[in-house]
Symmetry: D2
Subunit: 376 residues, 4 copies
Amino acid sequence: MHKLTTLLLCIISTTAFAQTQEDHSHKLARSLKFPNVPGYKVMKCDLHMHTVFSDGSVWPDIRVAEALMDGLDAISLTEHLEYQPHKADIPHPDRNRSYELAIKEAKDHNLLIIRGSEITRKMPPGHNNAIFIEDANKMLVDDSVAVFREAKRQKAFTFWNHPMWMAQRPDGISTLTPMHKLLIKEKLLDGIEVVNDGSYSDEALQIALDNNLTIMGTSDVHKLIDWTFGVPQGGHRPITLVFAKEPTIEGIKEGLENRRTVAFFKDLLIGRDEYLIPLIKESLKITSAKYLPKTSVLELEIENLTSATFTLQNRSKYTFAENSDIITLKAGEKTKLQVKTKDKLSSIDLNFEVLNAIHSPNSHPAVTLQATSITQ
Amino acid sequence: MHKLTTLLLCIISTTAFAQTQEDHSHKLARSLKFPNVPGYKVMKCDLHMHTVFSDGSVWPDIRVAEALMDGLDAISLTEHLEYQPHKADIPHPDRNRSYELAIKEAKDHNLLIIRGSEITRKMPPGHNNAIFIEDANKMLVDDSVAVFREAKRQKAFTFWNHPMWMAQRPDGISTLTPMHKLLIKEKLLDGIEVVNDGSYSDEALQIALDNNLTIMGTSDVHKLIDWTFGVPQGGHRPITLVFAKEPTIEGIKEGLENRRTVAFFKDLLIGRDEYLIPLIKESLKITSAKYLPKTSVLELEIENLTSATFTLQNRSKYTFAENSDIITLKAGEKTKLQVKTKDKLSSIDLNFEVLNAIHSPNSHPAVTLQATSITQ
Amino acid sequence: MHKLTTLLLCIISTTAFAQTQEDHSHKLARSLKFPNVPGYKVMKCDLHMHTVFSDGSVWPDIRVAEALMDGLDAISLTEHLEYQPHKADIPHPDRNRSYELAIKEAKDHNLLIIRGSEITRKMPPGHNNAIFIEDANKMLVDDSVAVFREAKRQKAFTFWNHPMWMAQRPDGISTLTPMHKLLIKEKLLDGIEVVNDGSYSDEALQIALDNNLTIMGTSDVHKLIDWTFGVPQGGHRPITLVFAKEPTIEGIKEGLENRRTVAFFKDLLIGRDEYLIPLIKESLKITSAKYLPKTSVLELEIENLTSATFTLQNRSKYTFAENSDIITLKAGEKTKLQVKTKDKLSSIDLNFEVLNAIHSPNSHPAVTLQATSITQ
Amino acid sequence: MHKLTTLLLCIISTTAFAQTQEDHSHKLARSLKFPNVPGYKVMKCDLHMHTVFSDGSVWPDIRVAEALMDGLDAISLTEHLEYQPHKADIPHPDRNRSYELAIKEAKDHNLLIIRGSEITRKMPPGHNNAIFIEDANKMLVDDSVAVFREAKRQKAFTFWNHPMWMAQRPDGISTLTPMHKLLIKEKLLDGIEVVNDGSYSDEALQIALDNNLTIMGTSDVHKLIDWTFGVPQGGHRPITLVFAKEPTIEGIKEGLENRRTVAFFKDLLIGRDEYLIPLIKESLKITSAKYLPKTSVLELEIENLTSATFTLQNRSKYTFAENSDIITLKAGEKTKLQVKTKDKLSSIDLNFEVLNAIHSPNSHPAVTLQATSITQ
C-alpha cells in the first residue's frame, strides 16, 4: 500500500521532470517548405523509418518530434516485420505497437501517422514497405508473394525499398527480378524508392517510369535525423511530396496510388512532368518586373518559395546582364535577374531547363516563367 | 528452413545498412576539453542519464554516441529502478540490461561505462543515484533507507539528484530533510547534484560544503543531448570533472569518494578551491610575455585550454591598456592583455577573481597568473 | 568645343556608373542601438576621425557611409591642423574642406556633421580636438595655449585625445601636465578621451572625474571602420553617447559642455552614475514576470535593448534557479531569469552590480531592476 | 624653428599611431586561390580600379591593402585621364601620382603595381584602359584614336571597358562600332572586358572570340571592395587570371598580349578552351579512388583547389550512387563521388560538361577527369 503511493507519486513527478527539459531545437528554421499546386495539397511525407521496435535507436516519440521540427505532414514507422534485433528486450507480440505509441505522441499536433511495416526479405524481393495497412500482425506471412497479397487484402500501398542497396545489389544498379515483374504485373507492388537515405538511383527512376510505379523518396532513418542528414549543417532528410486532393491519410493514399509524387533529395526534385511542372511553377514566383531606367534591360525579382535551391539553365534567346546561362535561385530567397530584351516588352516568356529537377535519368524538365504587367 | 536462411541474410544485411548511414555529426567541434592537473587525470563524466530502459527516449547506443561526440571519459546509464513507464513494451526483468547494451556498444571506444541506477522515491529522500553498483536487480528494495544500505553493500557511490527540483521542492530551494541527515550521518549518501540538467543551486552547493558531500553536475538527459542542451547552437551538457589518480573506473570512483570534483555547467566551474585552483592554473597559460617596443606596457598572450569561457576580475594594482577590470578569455582561444607596469619588470604576478568559478554561494576563487621570462 | 562636350558627357555618365555599384554592406545588422532616457535624447556620436584631408585613407564620403551603416547620429571629421602628410597632393588651403564635402554627402540623410579639427602637438599638450568650431583655418595658431583660446573664441568644445597614447606616454598612463592643468583651470579644455581606438584608460577616467571633464570615447579611425574594429566579426567602433535635450548639433554641444556623456567601447559603458544609471534602466526592461506553476519560483524575462551585452552580478538576497550570481544579458536579446523568492511576492526589487558599466576605475554602478504586477 | 621641431615630432608620432590600429580583416580566409598550369604561372590580376586620384573614394594604400587581403598578384590603378571630379582638391598635374603612391605602399609586399590609365570618352570609343604605359601625362590627347596611338607608342596593352555599360549602351548589349573596328584592325585595341563590376556580357565574349581580343574581368572598384562585392558575406571581386611565363610585370604583359587569360566572376571561369581546360584540370584533383568493399561501386574523392565552386554535368555512360548528373564541388573542399562501374575497372575516364566555365556564349567546355591506380 505504501509502496503503491510512492510509485504513483514518482510516476507523476518523473514525467513532469522529463517534460521540463528545455528544448533548444526550435531555434533552427529547419521546417521544409513547398507550396500547394492547383487542385492538390502538396503533402510532405517520410514513409520509411525505424524505431527501437525494429532496428532503430529511438523511441517513437523522437520520430514524432523530428517530423514536427521538419514540418512534415505525415510519417510512417515501418518497422521490419521479420528483423527484430531488440526482440530480447522488446518481445511485444503486437507489431502495431510502434504505430500506436506514435499516434498517442502526435495527438495534439498536425501530423498524420500512417500504419506501415517493412517486409524484410533477401533478394528477391528484397525489402518492401506496405503502408496504410490495417494490422501489421497479419503481415507475418512466410511466402514472399503471399505477404504482398495480404498487404493488398488490407488495401495497403506497397513499394520496393532501396532497390540500389549495395548489400543486396553489389553493383548498386537496380534491376527488376522476375519476382518483381510478377508483383508489378499482379498489381501487388505500387511504388519504388528512387531515393533512400543518402542514395539516388537513375536506374530505379527508369524502372518507375517503365512500369508506372510511384516515385518514392524516404529517409529510412535508424538513428537520428539530425546526425544522419546533417540538419544543423543545413542538410535535410529525403521526403516524398504527395499531391493529395485532401490533406488526410486517405488523400495521401489516393495520391500515392495514382502516382502523384515528387521525391525531394538534397536540392533535387524527382518526378513526372505532370507533377514536377506545376510544382516548379508554384515554387518560383516573379514578384516584380520592371525596366531599369533609361534602358531596355528588364529586371525581374524571382522568389523561390521552397526549401530546394534551384539551378536553371537559360533556354531563351535572351541574355542576362549579371549572369551566364546558369541561374541559381537560393531556397527561400528572392533573386534578381536582369534580362536584355533589346526592345521594351509588355510581357515575356523565359524558358529554362531546371537542372535540379529530374523527370528521367540525366534529363531535366523545361519550364516557362512568364512575366506580364511589366513596369516600363 | 528456408525462412531461417532468409532471416539470417536479413540480419546481416540490415545491420550493414544501418551502419552505412552517413553521420554528419562529427563535423561539429563539440568535444569538451579540460587539461589534467598535477597528480590527477581530469575525467569528464556524465553520471546521470536515461534510455528507453526507464523513461528515456533512446536506445543505449545513442547515449554512447553522444558521449563520444562530447569527448567524455565516462558515463552511467542510471535508469529509474521504480519508475518503468515502458514496462509494457520492455518487460525485461534484468535492471542491468541498459548497462550491458552500452558496454557492448562502447567496446571499441575509449569510453568507460559505469553501472548505476536511480533510486526513485518521493521526498524524502527524493531521487538518488547509486553508481559503481554490482547488480541493479538487488537494488529493488522497498524501504528508502534500506536501499541505500544495499547500495553500500555493493560498494556504490551515492548522490542526491536535483535536490532543487521544483516538482519535489516548490520553492526550488534545496534543504536537508531528517532522512537525508540520517543518510549522511550513516555514510550512506556521498554526493549531491549542484547542477542537474538546466538548473544550478547555490543551496545545494552550501549543503555539499557543510556536509562534506561530493559536488556533482549531470545532464539527467531523457531525450537528445543535442536538443536539450542546444549543442548545434554552442551549448553543452553539464558534466562532473573527476580528479582521478588513474583513468579507470576505479580511479573515478576513488576520486568521487574523496570529493575531488568540479561541476561544469554553461561556462561555470563549481568546486572546492583545492581542485578549482589547480584546474584554473592548468586551464589558463601565458604563452607569451613581452614589453611593447619603447614602452613599459607588457603584452601577455593567455591561452584558454578549456571549453569554458573565463571571466576574470582584476585584483592587481595594475591597470590594462585595452580592458577594464573585467577580462574575457574565450573558450579555446588565445587572448592578448596589455598590462601597464610603469617600471619594466622581469616577472609579474597578476591576481584575479575568477567570476565563472564558484567555490561557495556568490563567492569566486582568486588565482594568480604568473609570467616569468618576460621579453624586455 | 568638341572636347568640352565630350568631357561633359563623361562626367555625367561616369558618375552614374559609380553609383550603380551594388552595395552589399546593408545586409549586416550593424546599426548601434541605445534607448533615450527621460529628459534626453541619447545621441550616438563619433567625434574624432580622419580622411585623406589629413592622414586618413578615405575620402569623406566613406566616413559618411560608415556612420550611416553604424546608425550614428553625428560625426566630426577632425583633420590634423598641423599634420598634413598628403599636402603634396591635396594642397587645399581651406582646412574646412573635409567638413564641407561631408556636409554635402550627408545632405539627404539623418546624420549631423560637426565641424572640428585636431590640434596636433607634441606633449604637452599632445593632441586635442576642438569641435563645433566656426572656421578651421583660424585655428592655425602657433602657440599651444593660444590655439585653445582661439577655439574658445569660436565657442568650441575641446577635449584631450588619447592621453594614454604610448607614442607620447611610454607607460601608457595618463597624467596631467602643468599645461593641461592650466588649460583646465582657464576652462580651455572641456573633455578627455577615456577611450580612443582600441584603448581604454582607467587613469584618464580618474582625471575626468577629478577635474570635471567630459568623458569621451572615439574611433580616431584612419583606415576603414570595418577593418579596424572587425565589424563583420561582430566588433564595433567606440562612440560617445551624448545626452542631449534636442537631437541637434546645438543639443549635442550643450550635452557635451554639461558633461552628460557615456562612452561605449566593446561591451563597456563608461560614465558618471547620473547618466549611466538612467541609461541602464532604459536599456534593460522586464517584459514578463510570472511564477512558474505550483512553485514560488519567479520567472522574469529581461530585454536588453542595446548593442552592449550586459554582465550583472547579483547583489540581492535571492538566488537563481538556472544561474550563479553572474548573469549575462546578450545585446538585443531577451533572457529568462528564474528567481527563488521563497514566498510569492507581488513585486520585487533585484539589485545588481553592472560589471560592464564603469563609474570610476575598477568600480561598477549598482542598479535595481523592479518587477511589479507579477502574475501569480 | 620651434614650430618645425613640433611638427617633426608630430609627423613621426602620428604616423606611428595610424599604424598601430589593429586590423581584424586578416581573420577572413578571403585570399583567392587558383593553381598554376603546366608552362604558366596563373597570375591573379585586377587591372581596372580607381582612387581619389580620379573618382574613387580611397587613397591608393587601401587598394594595396585590399589586393593583399584578396591574395592578388598584380593590380593597376587606372584613374580616368579626362574625368577628375576631385580636381578642386587634388590638382596634382602628374597623372602618374596614384601609381607612385601605390608602388611605395606595396614595396615590402609581393604585389605588382602596373601603371595604367582609363581613357574616358563618350561612345565611341567609350571607356578604355591602357596599362603598362610609361607616362600617363602623355596620354592627355584630344583625339580618340590618337590617344590609342600614343598608348601603343608607349607599348601599352589596351582594352575596352564595360562595353555592356547601360549608361552608354541602353540595351546592355555590346556591339562593335566602326571606331572599335578601326582600333582593332590597326592593332590599337587588344582586349575587352567580358566582366566588369557586377556585369557579365555574352555579347562581349562573342566580340572577343570573333576579333581575337583578350578576355578581361575587372572590379572597376570606386568605393570599397568589401562593400561592393560583399566579401564578408562570401563574395569576391572579379579578376583576370593571366597565364604568364614569368611571375613579373613583363610576364603578365606578354600573357595578356597573347590572349592567355581566364576571367573569374562569382563562380564562373570565362575563357578560351586552350587556357580553361588546363586550368580546370589543375583545379580538380582526384585524391583517392577505391572500390567500396564487396561492390563494383567506385568511390572517388575530388579536391577543388580553387576559390570557385564547380558545377559539373555528367557526360559519361556511368551513373552515380548519391548524385544525379549534376555534381557540385565546393570551393576549396574535397567531395566524394560514387560511380557505378558495373565491372571493376583499373582506370576510368569521367567526362563532364563544366557548367561554371564558359568558352562561348551559352556553351560550356568538356573535361575528362581520369583516375588511374584504383584500389580494388
